[in-house]
């Protein structure tokens, strides 16, 4: 790692102030993407602003038909939260399968979203459930927030504080893990809310998370795995690497979507 200065604010306001004042400052949440990147010397922030001591970023709250999760909630906390398990069991299950137990003890929902790794799990859930990403400055709909690989709508000094999910009637996530990294090779989050169905795909797209509209149309007619038979994902625009080429990924998108629908139906 290159040298940097370290700051641990108590409030979001202080954090924002530090980000504005310090050259090349970066936020550290759980640090489970940032620190490995820094260790490899692929990132060289001049200052780290640690959100670990900001109480207002913690907490999970159910508000009517919404579920609001603080940005610094760890994957383990989300997975184990009774509120999440009751409101959106698919989201709890997703969180329970991010990384490994040690990573889940440290990695956070806010960090995952702000980083928008193309193989991360949470972006699919956000898109499928039409989540609102709340920052210290504004509220951003998920579809505007995620802007291609590692790209987000976040501006300089902007900090994710909460994620607000609309509670779907049924939802689930199915992931095919990269055998080495255990990130999503293909992850599909399926959510049904009233007559609306959304299918969001992570891990597969060359420009990050995306909606698979053909599947959404098919599932709107009938929310059942069978509806997806013969619905093919387009391999163009999908990643090809040593673990999976685009054609195999396209095939897996269909398989994972079917499995997600099965899970959402409680089968």
């Amino acid at each position: 790692m290159y040298a940097f200065t370290y700051h641990r604010p108590d409030t979001v306001r202080q954090a924002a102030g530090l980000l504005a004042r310090k050259d090349d400052a970066k936020i550290i949440a759980g640090g489970h993407t940032l620190l490995p990147t820094m260790k490899q010397r692929l990132a060289s922030p001049g200052a780290l602003v640690d959100l670990g001591g900001v109480p207002e970023l913690k907490g999970i709250e159910r508000k009517g038909r919404g579920l609001i999760i603080g940005a610094m909630m760890t994957h383990a906390e989300v997975a184990e939260s009774a509120a999440v398990q009751e409101a959106i069991p698919g989201l709890a299950a997703l969180a329970a399968n991010i990384g490994d137990p040690h990573v889940r003890h440290r990695g956070t929902i806010g960090g995952s979203i702000a980083n928008n790794d193309p193989a991360a799990d949470y972006p699919a859930a956000c898109i499928a459930m039409g989540a609102i990403i709340v920052t210290n400055k504004r509220k951003i709909p998920a579809e505007d927030f995620f802007q291609g690989m590692f790209g987000t709508a976040l501006e300089e000094g902007e900090i994710v504080t909460k994620v607000a999910f609309g509670i779907p009637s049924r939802s689930a996530y199915a992931k095919f893990r990269n055998p080495a990294s255990r990130y999503a090779l293909v992850g599909v989050y399926v959510a049904k809310r009233g007559g609306e169905v959304r299918v969001a795909v992570t891990g597969a797209g060359a420009s990050g998370v995306f909606r698979w509209t053909a599947a959404e149309e098919a599932l709107k007619k009938r929310f059942a795995p069978k509806s997806l038979e013969g619905v093919k994902a387009d391999p163009s625009g999908l990643n090809s690497d040593i673990h999976a080429d685009a054609e195999y990924r396209a095939h897996l998108i269909n398989v994972m979507a079917r499995r997600a629908v099965e899970a959402a139906l409680g089968k």
């Binding site: 095919f176 055998p179 080495a180 673990h243 999976a244 080429d245 195999y248 095939h251 398989v255």
Partner: protein, 787 residues
């Protein structure tokens, strides 16, 4: 059998320090005032170095030195060596290119050592490395094993067509005649995928120079510290052996990769004198992927000839072996004498002919990795055999059985003389444990769930404890492959065993002590095993090739014989009897036909106080040493049966059952042996299903971390069913055959045979990742639909 003697599953003596965090690995050792080394590595697969400018780096905080190949040359430090001479078919010696520890004029793989930066801290050294300016002229990469000789790019001037040697073994004419007479010929093209050994402890080195004594000490992650000292002294020229101490403390796994003498430890011990401070280096995982010697990487075409009844007539194979950019320490022997002599498998094959072309590529050096040559041979034989059974419509177990060697000793057409074995016994037991009869039912049940189920065999043989030295010398080895032992009995009857074997997970501190306890009748706690330090143990050859039981313990046994013989002389004086009337049993010397006894501890005390005998007639003391050179290799063998289920939707292969029945000869500690089998199978399953080193066409390493190189994890593997059969090995006094590599040798063909059985065709390459198996399963599913 006593509770702690030979054959008892004694819990390991070494474990207490490991489970409490008190293990002492190389990186745990620090010396006052030590500096840290960082190696600047080549970012290019192949390039000439025009200039290295370290001016800016030298001025950075904490930097003590930036050293390059020119400094090595100025100090007359020699290059790294390959210690096994192979001659080509035409009699010419192998083409060994220069292998400097720091590049001299050229780099030949990504990760090759360009310079070392020594600084007060590791971070400072790494910071400064970025300020070293290297002017390269990039040359084309040569990556592909099969086509390396066709490249116009020359990696080493001595090998203009990138060929290291064209070697062969066996009888070509007889083999051709066998194929002419064959009723069936079975053909296969196989790739044995390249692997990264990945012991969990990365390599490390700490070089120390004592100016007053003009003496060096090197702490290093080595499987054979004495060989390291020999090479560093006699060939590289760091210092004479009496001025160089090499210590390999606790070592966190090796699997072959820590046999070799690498650039990093060479440079650390040399640099310690140059900077006047101890120099420490610790590899990170990406450096390990880049610079630890890899394993396997063969491309083979093989054929098997059968008569009309399914009896084997002949086998031939042509293999291209990738040795990487430089010849690593024992690399040349792996695809030759550790490979082709095993092509007879467990079978009576009258004629065998193998040709091996070894090639240079601009990739990391390739050398021995768990099994070394024998997994490659077993993959060829057992894939061919399984395909042959399918081709002639015979049950694969039955086909093996009708071709098994049943009479011993058996001379194969490829050097080996198998001394003992009972292959049918292992097959029979394995079929029972695996419930082979119940497989068709299990397959139908799986089909109902939409899964493809398959079963595959591997009837492997290996040759361990490579010896005797005169024989391996005649095959080109630069060293002898004996082992040494010294038994030091202390005056109170406790015992220190000094061994040239090295334990890096094998549990020698326990098993070696069991042998001593058994033979001398002393409690296990009274025995200490000393290893891994050239100042304590005089000489040794280290641990690899499953040799420590068969060779290392045999040396101890021989030294124990001498201790007992000397003890009898002492006892004769003490008990006032004739030496020939003294018996030794259960820790007691006794006089035949009397009740006079002397326990071992008292005998030791008498030997040292020397009050009861005249020092001119009998030397005081009780300490004996032995060098043991075996009469033959040992031949562990067995049968593994893999059963898999494939999800045709995703291509995921689940290993649902694993049966291993092995004949390792006499077993000292079944618990430890089973552990070795488990670990070997896991690495074999890793090779077959998960692991593969991949370079892109520019020679960049794509699998440079655990993000891309798939290590077997707990949820990738099943529990294993392990059984044993026993035929004692007649070639050493203990009857031991060796067990360290068996699983890694047996597993890959068993698994690929199971997958090809499940999908109904032979076209499945290793590693059979979900992507590969999905495509293979598509073929099967469309075939099923068509039928």
């Amino acid at each position: 059998m006593s509770a702690t003697g030979i054959g008892a599953s004694v819990r390991r003596k070494e474990d207490h320090r490991f489970i409490t965090g008190a293990g002492r690995y190389t990186d745990d050792i620090n010396r006052p005032d030590q500096a840290h080394a960082y190696f600047l590595r080549s970012p290019h697969a192949h390039a000439t170095i025009n200039r290295i400018d370290a001016t800016k780096a030298m001025a950075m905080p904490g930097v003590l030195a930036v050293l390059t190949g020119a400094d090595l040359e100025a100090d007359k430090i020699g290059g790294l060596i390959c210690g096994w001479m192979i001659h080509s078919k035409d009699g010419s010696p192998m083409k060994a290119g220069p292998h400097p520890a720091l590049a001299q004029g050229k780099v030949r793989y990504v990760g090759d050592h360009v310079a070392v930066i020594v600084a007060d801290t590791y971070a400072q050294a790494r910071d400064a490395a970025e300020a070293v300016v290297v002017d390269y002229t990039v040359l084309p990469a040569v990556v592909d094993t099969a086509t390396a000789t066709k490249s116009k790019t020359v990696i080493h001037d001595v090998a203009p067509d990138n060929t290291v040697y064209n070697w062969h073994l066996g009888n070509k004419d007889e083999t051709e005649a066998a194929f002419k007479a064959a009723a069936h010929v079975v053909k296969l093209d196989l790739v044995n995928n390249r692997l990264a050994p990945n012991p969990m402890e990365p390599r490390a080195a700490l070089g120390v120079y004592d100016k007053g004594e003009d003496h060096y000490t090197l702490y290093t992650t080595s499987q054979n510290p004495h060989v390291a000292r020999l090479v560093l002294s006699a060939f590289i020229g760091i210092a004479p052996e009496n001025k160089l101490r090499v210590i390999a403390p606790d070592v966190g796994g090796g699997f072959g990769s820590k046999i070799f003498i690498y650039a990093e430890e060479t440079v650390c011990v040399w640099a310690a004198k140059k900077v006047g401070r101890p120099v420490k280096w610790n590899s990170d995982r990406t450096e390990a992927f880049l610079s630890d010697a890899h394993g396997r990487d063969h491309v083979t075409h093989a054929e098997l000839a059968l008569d009309a009844n399914g009896k084997m007539l002949g086998l031939r194979a042509h293999t291209i072996a990738n040795l990487g950019a430089y010849l690593s320490t024992f690399s040349s022997s792996v695809p030759t004498y550790l490979y082709a002599p095993l092509l007879s498998g467990q079978y009576n094959i009258p004629a065998i002919y193998a040709e091996v072309d070894a090639v240079y590529t601009t990739t990391a050096p390739v050398d021995a990795y768990r099994g070394a040559g024998r997994p490659e041979a077993t993959f060829v034989v057992e894939r061919l055999v399984e395909k042959a059974a399918r081709q002639i419509g015979m049950d694969p177990a039955r086909f093996r059985q009708i071709n098994y060697i049943t009479k011993f000793p058996h001379q194969t057409p490829v050097i080996m003389c198998y001394d003992a074995g009972n292959y049918n016994a292992s097959m029979k037991k394995a079929l029972e444990i695996a419930d082979y009869k119940g497989f068709p039912k299990r397959r139908r049940e799986a089909e109902r769930r939409g899964k493809l189920r398959g079963i595959g065999f591997s009837s492997y043989i290996e040759a361990c404890g490579i010896a005797p030295s005169a024989a391996v010398g005649s095959l080109g080895a630069g060293v002898g492959l004996w082992e040494s032992a010294e038994v030091r009995v202390n005056p109170v009857g406790t015992v220190e065993i000094l061994t040239g074997s090295h334990s890096h997970g094998q549990g020698h501190e326990t098993t070696f002590a069991q042998l001593v306890s058994d033979r001398l009748g002393v409690p296990l706690e009274a025995v200490s095993i000393v290893h891994g330090d050239t100042d304590k143990v005089q000489m040794g050859m280290g641990t690899y090739g499953s040799r420590s039981g068969a060779v290392g313990m045999s040396a101890i046994s021989k030294a124990l014989d001498k201790v007992i013989a000397k003890g009898k002389k002492v006892a004769a004086y003490v008990l006032e009897a004739s030496e020939k009337d003294i018996d030794f049993k259960d820790g007691k010397f006794s006089v035949k036909g009397t009740d006079k006894t002397l326990d071992f501890g008292s005998c030791a005390l008498q030997a040292y106080i020397a009050h009861k005998f005249n020092g001119q007639d009998l030397e005081p003391g009780l300490k004996e040493g032995a060098f043991y050179d075996p009469t033959n290799f040992t031949f562990p063998a067995g049968v593994h049966i893999a059963e898999v289920e494939i999800d045709p939707d995703t291509g995921v292969t689940t290993v649902v059952n694993w049966t291993a029945v092995d004949d390792f000869g006499v077993i000292i500690n079944p618990m430890i042996v089973e552990g070795q089998v488990h670990g070997g199978i896991a690495q074999g399953i890793g090779q077959a299903l998960l692991e593969g080193v991949i370079y892109n066409k520019d020679g960049q390493l794509v699998t440079a971390s655990y993000m891309d190189y798939t290590m077997p994890r707990a949820d990738d593997l099943p529990s294993f069913k392990v059984g044993m059969t026993t035929t004692a090995c007649p070639s050493n006094p203990l009857g031991i055959k060796g067990c360290g590599e068996a699983g890694a040798i047996a597993a890959p063909p068993a698994l690929i045979n199971a997958i090809t059985d499940a999908v109904g065709h032979e076209d499945v390459a290793m590693p059979a990742t979900p992507k590969v198996v999905w495509r293979a399963a598509q073929k099967a599913v469309s075939k099923m639909a068509a039928e």
